[in-house]
């Protein structure tokens, strides 16, 4: 904490005035009861308790003497506005009420003596307060709880007697029983005290007011102000803040009505400041902050020009600064009590303005107190009492109120003394404290730029105070804000200060960093300044001492030179790595194209820059070795840069560096990123600075420029590669490594569509067009994964063209090693070629089958032990000719072939749409009762494509034959007859009738006559057939007509099974026969006849 200065407001002005009550007769050190009473008075003084300031004073305390009352003001000339001791006197010295505590019970045995002792004590207090309106009250501390009023006759009698003895009114005598409810009694007591105090202050106000009628406006102007101020102050003590505000306002306007001249300017301003402070404080207290602000503005406007003595102008700025500061404090305090401030109206502005005046003060002080003068003796600022009598007066002419100073010489010496004193004021400290207050406020009210601005000021102030470390810390902090907002003019100014700081501290690294940014394009410095800075930078790089920055204080610059010389001699610490993101004169851009990397560098500084090494770091560090440009050069070379050299950057020209490398196989699919770009300036033997850009580089302006360039419609003429337009280059700091499309051709030869179930042959021919050997070529063939599961299960792939696939073969053959593909030497990364073929599949043939009777009649069902025919039709649907190698019938056990079934379609070639049929004679053996249908078996067709090579595997397609209905019949009939007949030749026909039941069957049969035949044999017969036996009937048919003739119908009926109709049985019998015409003889005869 700084010790209070002349300009600080006195604490008695800043506190909240409270009624002053003195407590006497309490021994708080040795008497426990008294201690408890005192504690109850002062502990827990919360807002709900009456505002009284208590003080324990001895019974014989001497109160300030009251001067004799003036009866006339006629010849009185006031010496000042307000005495310095007055406020304190009424706050702390002159009580509104003196309370005398006295231990006395109503039934005290020595009542008389005690009463007179008490009266004496009261008298002592009264004497000390001679002439004042201070009230006196007596509190009797009693051990017993009092009886309710009116019941204790002794008490009321003795109370009256005591009042009489002490000359007290009954209202001024109190009883404090020392019991459990002490606090309660105390609160009641202090409320009573408060009423007494208010009466006192009221009478005081009346007393001051009464002076008014004696005053005149010519000589007593000061008194008008003084009286209004006093009334206001007493009103405050009375807690009548509304009236207090009113009187302060009157006082304030009266202050400004005073005649002002150089000698009393300070006094007027001081009093105006005090009154203004009180007004603002009360306005905030009344929750009318706008009134407070308005009053303060008025105050500032009125006082701004009241500078006073020109030689002491710094006093005015110091006072102004203090006005703003104290208003800021009041504002802030009100906010803490619940007031809401806004962005454009917050205490920060007042602190900022206070800081501004403090800065002014500092400048004025520097200007006015520059001359070397010794502090005058005797001290003109010394007074007899050590303090001034009146606020705002000069020590060497106190009380002087006329226009001219009484003694010009004394005046001069006094001013000199003040100037010398001003020199010792820690101005920077004051300014920084105010600025940091303001920063805290602006931070709270969302003003980041204002905050930055103030921090810059703080940094500059630290610079002036020669605390360069702190200055740099602050400046560094805000620089980045200005950089991102692109306020180059402001950034340049900050950098200038920062550069001076780093110079004065001989901080090589910082010095280089700031120099770099200052000579870059973001800086708004003139070319000649940039040139000077760059020259210094080159000196630093050569391990020499740079020139002093201009505007540096000569003494400090000299010290800095020494520091720099030390740095130069100090070897070892000459390598610096500077992170130069955002702010380096050479911006840079990188384009990463596959494995070719372009690095663009451009210097914006006035002189060419030579560097010794340039390297790019990538996320995979193995590549870093390919991205380096290095050249050893001697340190002197820095000075003679050759513009055509590779390692030199010419201002304003873009230079492009290209690096190439081959991506590693393991990085395929990964992102390669440029992590950093390093540029080394200087050499290892001199000073060496490594500039490090993170990522793809660029500076603060470049990203914006890229956008602007993109928006721009300026024609971008073709420029030579080497001088690519800077703003058209955009940073691309990362790239994906992907495998390139291999120069390998894959040809697939096959003949779609594929036939289902076929071994579909696909020839893959792989040809490498690479210039180098493709190693470890692998082929993956098969069904594309992720298709229908059924498809995957039913498709098999094999590499062996002669083999037929079965379930054990997979649907996909991965990584078939093919080996190396010629020619060349280099190793190639993995190349992946993808080829997907969609193969249309068609069904090669349809197989249809049907059961027919021996008469080729369609059969719904077959009968046990009755032969029937199975016919199969193979209909080719294939676009390709099909070669049926063979076919085979695999019968189920429920079927038997009547002969050895042989394939009838062997080596048949089917064209599209052609059909091959086979016929097999089958019979069904007896089935168990109740069986209605039986399985027939499978039909195997072995086939291949006709077109496919001779050794292509034969595929066997299995067709499952359908079930067939089976029925058992009781009687079976079959006929035995020649294949043809001849007209008029006997045609024997044998009918076999078989009983297939376990019972004897009565059969009735008859032959119906026919026109085409004559016949012999039994025409109608009834016979009996034993179980399982067969009966044979022989007929001799004699055909009468040629051609197909219907045989005479044989009717059979079973007496036991009427359901078995002749119709059914007739199906087993041939219904007609071909009859040939008569033989040669007849022919001859007919010829002869002809």
């Amino acid at each position: 904490m700084m010790s209070p200065t002349q300009w600080d407001l006195p604490p008695e002005l800043c506190c909240r005035p409270m009624a002053f009550v003195a407590l006497t007769g309490l021994d708080v050190t040795y008497n426990a009861i008294h201690r408890a009473i005192w504690d109850a008075f002062c502990a827990n003084r919360r807002a709900d308790r009456v505002p009284i300031s208590f003080k324990v004073l001895p019974g014989d305390h001497e109160y300030p003497k009251c001067r004799t009352k003036r009866t006339s003001y006629e010849w009185y000339i006031p010496k000042g506005i307000l005495k310095t001791g007055w406020m304190n006197k009424h706050l702390n010295l002159v009580p509104a009420l003196v309370v005398l505590f006295y231990e006395l019970d109503w039934d005290d045995p020595v009542w008389k003596e005690k009463q007179s002792e008490c009266a004496t004590k009261v008298e002592i207090v009264r004497t000390s307060l001679q002439g004042r309106n201070t009230k006196v009250a007596v509190v009797l501390i009693q051990k017993k709880t009092p009886l309710p009023p009116g019941e204790d006759l002794v008490a009321s009698e003795r109370a009256a007697s005591l009042c009489n003895a002490c000359d007290l009114s009954g209202k001024s005598l109190f009883v404090l029983p020392h019991t459990d409810h002490l606090v309660g009694y105390i609160i009641r007591l202090e409320n009573a005290f408060y009423e007494h105090a208010q009466t006192y202050y009221y009478t005081e106000i009346r007393r001051v007011k009464s002076h008014k009628e004696f005053l005149n406006k010519t000589t007593h102007q000061l008194l008008f102000v003084r009286h209004q101020f006093k009334i206001a102050f007493f009103s405050e003590l009375k807690q009548d803040t509304q009236n207090a505000l009113k009187y302060y306002r009157t006082a304030y306007s009266l202050v400004h009505e005073l005649r002002t001249h150089e000698t009393n300017m300070l006094e007027i301003k001081t009093m105006a400041g005090f009154t203004n402070y009180k007004i603002c404080r009360l306005c905030f207290q009344h929750n009318t902050p706008l009134d407070a602000i308005a009053q303060f503005r008025k105050h500032i406007d009125l006082c701004k020009k009241k500078i006073g003595s020109a030689e002491l102008a710094f006093e005015h700025t110091a006072w102004m600064s203090k006005q703003f500061q104290s208003f800021g404090d009041l504002f802030d305090e009100a906010i803490k009590l619940g007031l809401t401030a806004i962005q454009t109206q917050n205490p920060g502005f007042y602190y900022q303005q206070a800081a501004y005046y403090a800065q002014e003060r500092k400048q004025q002080a520097a200007h006015m107190c520059a001359h070397e003068v010794r502090y005058p003796t005797p001290d003109p600022l010394e007074t007899l009492s050590g303090a001034l009598d009146f606020y705002g007066q000069r020590a060497w002419r106190q009380g002087h109120q006329s226009i001219d100073p009484p003694d010009a010489e004394k005046e001069k010496v006094g001013i000199q003394a003040l100037q010398v004193k001003e020199k010792d004021v820690p101005h920077s400290e004051l300014i920084i404290a105010l600025l940091s207050n303001a920063v805290a406020q602006f931070k709270k009210y969302k003003c980041p730029r204002m905050k930055s601005h103030l921090m810059v000021q703080m940094g500059e102030e630290y610079y002036h105070a020669k605390d360069y470390t702190k200055a740099l810390k602050l400046l560094d902090y805000v620089m980045c804000d200005y950089r991102t907002e692109r306020w180059w003019s402001l950034l340049t100014s900050i950098l200038g200060t920062a550069l001076r700081c780093s110079y004065l501290m001989a901080h090589v690294k910082d010095y280089i960093t700031y120099s770099m940014e200052l000579i870059g394009r973001a800086s708004t410095l003139w070319e000649d300044q940039k040139s000077r800075i760059e020259k210094n930078l080159i000196k630093v790089l050569m391990n020499e001492v740079p020139e002093a920055e201009p505007d540096c204080d000569p003494a400090s610059a000299k010290a800095a030179q020494a520091l720099w010389s030390d740095r130069v001699s100090l070897a070892g610490s000459n390598r610096f790595t500077i992170e130069v993101q955002d702010y380096v004169p050479f911006g840079q851009f990188i384009l990463l194209l596959q494995c070719k990397l372009h690095l663009y560098l451009k210097a914006d500084c006035p002189h060419p820059v030579r560097f010794s090494k340039l390297c790019v770091s990538l996320s995979n560090q193995e590549y870093n070795q390919f991205c380096v440009v290095e050249e050893s050069c001697k340190s002197q070379d820095i000075l003679e840069p050759l513009s055509q050299e590779n390692m030199c950057l010419v201002p304003g020209k873009t230079r492009k560096y290209s690096f190439k490398f081959v991506a590693k196989t393991e990085d395929v699919g990964k992102k390669i990123e440029i992590t950093a770009v390093d540029l080394m300036l200087g050499t290892d033997n001199g000073r060496c600075v490594l500039l490090n850009w993170r990522g793809g580089g660029g500076d603060a302006a470049s990203s914006h420029e890229a956008i602007q360039a993109a928006r721009s419609f300026r024609s971008r003429g073709r420029v030579p590669e080497q001088h690519a337009q800077w703003d058209t280059v955009s940073i691309q700091a990362s790239t994906m490594i992907i495998s390139r499309v291999p120069k390998i051709s894959v040809q697939l030869s096959h003949k779609p569509p594929a036939l289902s179930n076929e071994m579909y042959c696909i020839c893959v021919s792989i040809q490498s067009n690479e210039k180098t050997v493709a190693k470890d070529v692998k082929l993956t063939a098969g069904l594309k994964p992720g298709q229908d599961a059924n498809l995957t299960q039913s498709t098999q792939v094999t590499l062996n063209g002669l083999e037929v696939c079965d379930e054990s073969h997979p649907a996909l053959l991965p990584d078939i090693a093919i080996g190396d593909l010629q020619p060349g030497e280099k190793v190639h990364p993995l190349l992946i070629s993808d080829e997907t073929v969609t193969i249309e599949t068609v069904v090669p043939f349809d197989v249809a089958m049907k059961f027919v009777s021996t008469k080729f009649e369609h059969l719904e069902r077959v009968y046990v032990d009755v032969p029937f025919l199975l016919m199969t039709d193979i209909l080719s649907a294939s676009p390709w000719p099909l070669h049926l190698v063979s076919s085979q019938l695999l019968l189920a056990p429920t079927m038997v072939a009547l002969d050895e079934p042989q394939s009838q379609v062997e080596h048949v070639v089917l064209q599209t749409g052609e059909c091959a049929s086979e016929c097999f004679s089958l019979q069904c053996p007896p089935v168990l009762n109740g069986t209605s249908s039986v399985a027939s078996g499978q039909y195997l067709i072995s086939w291949k494509r006709k077109s496919s090579c001779a050794d292509a595997p034969v595929v066997t397609t299995v067709v499952t034959l359908s079930h067939v209905m089976v029925e058992t019949i009781p009687l079976y009939v079959h006929a035995e007859l020649p294949s043809f007949g001849r007209v008029r030749e006997s045609l024997p026909v044998r009918y076999h009738i078989q009983n297939r039941t376990g019972l004897v069957q009565d059969v009735e049969m008859s032959v119906e006559p026919s026109d085409a035949f004559m016949f012999s044999g039994l025409k109608q017969v009834r016979l009996r057939i034993l179980p399982g036996a067969e009966h044979e009937m022989l007929y001799n048919f004699y055909p009468l007509m040629a051609g197909y003739q219907n045989l005479p119908l044989l009717n059979i009926s079973l007496l036991r099974f009427p359901t078995v109709s002749g119709q059914l049985l007739r199906r087993f019998l041939p219904s007609r026969i071909f009859v040939k015409p008569q033989g040669r003889q007849a022919e001859d005869a007919s010829i002869a006849a002809a």
Partner: protein
């Protein structure tokens, strides 16, 4: 009359800034920059309440001791001339929006609005 006139891009960097040459230029730059705090706050506050009826004239931004800073987001009489002139600049087919303003006509307009340096 104005002592300093600045046109600020929406990204808060200066497109044009000019002050009375006799005074401390840097100080004006700081004043303009700090008043952007208020502009930013006002614009964001307006954006929240009613985006359509936004008041372009932002009024008095800062009650500084010596100067008054007024903000205007792109229509009031004092600013109409400036706005028209700015529109002319933007209409120039050779002006790339976002670049700093370098126009004699605009300079001339600003000079008329400023306190004449004596």
């Amino acid at each position: 009359m104005a002592v300093c006139i600045a046109v600020i891009a929406k990204e808060n960097y200066p497109l044009y800034i000019r002050s009375v040459p006799t005074q401390n230029e840097l100080k004006f730059h700081y004043t303009v920059h700090t008043s952007l705090d208020v502009v930013e706050e006002k614009i964001s506050a307006v954006g929240k309440a009613m985006a359509d009826q936004r008041e372009l004239y932002l009024g008095l931004l800062y009650p500084t001791e010596d100067y008054k800073v007024y903000g205007y987001v792109t229509n009031s009489k004092m600013f109409r001339k400036l706005h028209n002139s700015f529109t002319d600049v933007m209409c120039n087919p050779f002006y790339n929006p976002g670049d700093t303003i370098q126009s004699k006509a605009f300079d001339g307009m600003v000079s008329v609005m400023m306190v004449q340096a004596s």
